[in-house]
Symmetry: C2
Subunit: 296 residues, 2 copies
């Protein structure tokens, strides 16, 4: 039985990120018939521990062919799958799979050599959304997260993209900066978030405005419980400014976890654009099936 025939009987797909991984059992009819998520991200696996971590997935979901996407294929992961250069479509990903063994393949990431940028994992979601007709074959996608990706899709392929470190900066500031105590409050949509977005969209003084967040509270000019929402808005607004400068389009497809897409949708609306929110998990499943179908 060749690879194609084995995949046709169903397979396991894993979205294996830096800090978490999520695995899905896709049956022969293309339905997700089982799944789990845990915190065994690529950075948490010790050197030499990947075979066991991969075996655990099969122990939980069945002894099936396995397609692994995300940071698992990076130089901090299991086996490095070299980046596919832009423009990149599903065919390009499928033909550059790296086979760890006869039953286990790693999906490559995508690089934009001209901009000097890289992604691993988001490409499956973006190209899955195109294939599933969730987004048009020419559009701008925003994929928010630790490293938010702004992706221009042309002719159904990833044409160019840019990474903005919005989520990581917020987390760094929250964990151990002079703003830590203020950023422990919840981030909520509302006037404070909107004021941050407006500042971030218009002004290019992030390094200074971050300190002003603290100074305004110290001087009694702003309520401390709104500082987290303002700061989130500031970072998201600045990220939207950078993303829209890359590829200005009236509609923007915001793909990812709903608690993040709603923040970006609000900021894009404030910027005068029309956001369309999409669930990232659904896009991933569409994309990984596209790749599975192309395995020869």
């Amino acid at each position: 039985m060749n690879r194609r025939m084995r995949m046709a009987e169903g397979f396991i797909a894993a979205d294996w990120g830096t800090t978490n991984r999520r695995a899905y059992w896709i049956d022969g009819e293309g339905r997700c018939a089982g799944e789990f998520e845990d915190s065994r991200g690529a950075l948490s696996i010790p050197s030499g521990g990947f075979p066991e971590a991969v075996a655990e997935i099969r122990n939980r979901l069945g002894d099936k062919p396995l397609l692994l996407a995300g940071m698992i294929g990076s130089n901090r992961g299991w086996i490095e799958a070299p980046y596919v250069p832009c423009p990149a479509g599903v065919d390009d990903l499928a033909s550059a799979l790296v086979w760890a063994d006869e039953e286990t393949a790693i999906v490559p990431g995508v690089c934009d050599s001209q901009r000097a940028d890289v992604m691993r994992g988001e490409e499956v979601q973006v190209l899955g959304a195109v294939a599933g007709k969730l987004i048009p074959s020419d559009c701008l996608v925003c994929h928010p997260g630790t490293h938010t990706k702004w992706v221009e899709v042309i002719g159904g392929r990833i044409s160019t993209f840019r990474t903005v470190m919005t989520g990581e900066l917020f987390n760094l500031l929250k964990e151990q900066s002079v703003l830590s105590d203020l950023l422990s409050f919840p981030v909520e949509l509302g006037d404070a978030f909107d004021a941050g977005v407006r500042h971030g969209l218009e002004l290019d003084d992030l390094q200074a405005e971050l300190f002003s967040v603290r100074a305004r509270v110290l001087l009694g000019n702003a309520p401390r419980e709104q500082a987290a929402s303002y700061t989130s808005g500031l970072l998201v607004g600045g990220g939207v400014r950078i993303g829209l400068a890359m590829a200005p389009r009236p509609r923007v497809f915001v793909m990812g976890r709903p608690e993040l897409t709603r923040l970006y949708a609000a900021a894009l609306t404030r910027a005068g654009h029309q956001p369309v929110e999409l669930d990232g998990e659904q896009c991933f499943l569409a994309g990984i099936q596209q790749i599975a179908e192309r395995i020869a």
Copy 2:
């Protein structure tokens, strides 16, 4: 014997920051006759531990009157000394000293209510430099550090200022970000630093450019050992852009620790300005003596 007479016989001055403190014994002739530095910054002292930490200074330098400046007077310090509003000169600081006891005074910080900004410690250096004629009575001062201060001095008083979180952002990125391994290399003046400065002076995409630093190394477009210098230049250049926008002046007096002032001097030169470097410790001693002389 009143306070003025006691001070005239000499006193101890302490620059008590967040993470370190430095104390100086200034004798009756105004000479520094003894000093020490340790890591007992304001944040390292437990609640209730300040009387002991203050007593330790006298144990080491003598039982003398004590002037304390810096974060010791903040809401995370010993006794809060309310901010003096801009415009603020030496007289304003001296008349707003907060006396912990008959022999121990805390120097207030300065706030810029219009900009919503605050400083504690740098004001003594800036006003000391004016009094010591190290800087003119109308000028722009840059005080680099964890929270770099850009200060406009008018008529010998602090007129307005802005804080840029350059040092703190670099440290956060170095300690626990996706750039940590790259930022462990030393920061050096040279082509990579200069390229970062130029980007920071011109472009307003810090959140994205930080990720590009990593992507360029991954793609083999930049040597990993130069990433720290480039990133430092990027942050310093962006800070210089923000500082010069506040108060554009051809000459800029850069005051602080020499290993930092030289980075800012290079960036200011690249921006077409004339930097003048000053040693922050000398400025502090000049400033604290000005305050001591005004004690009634």
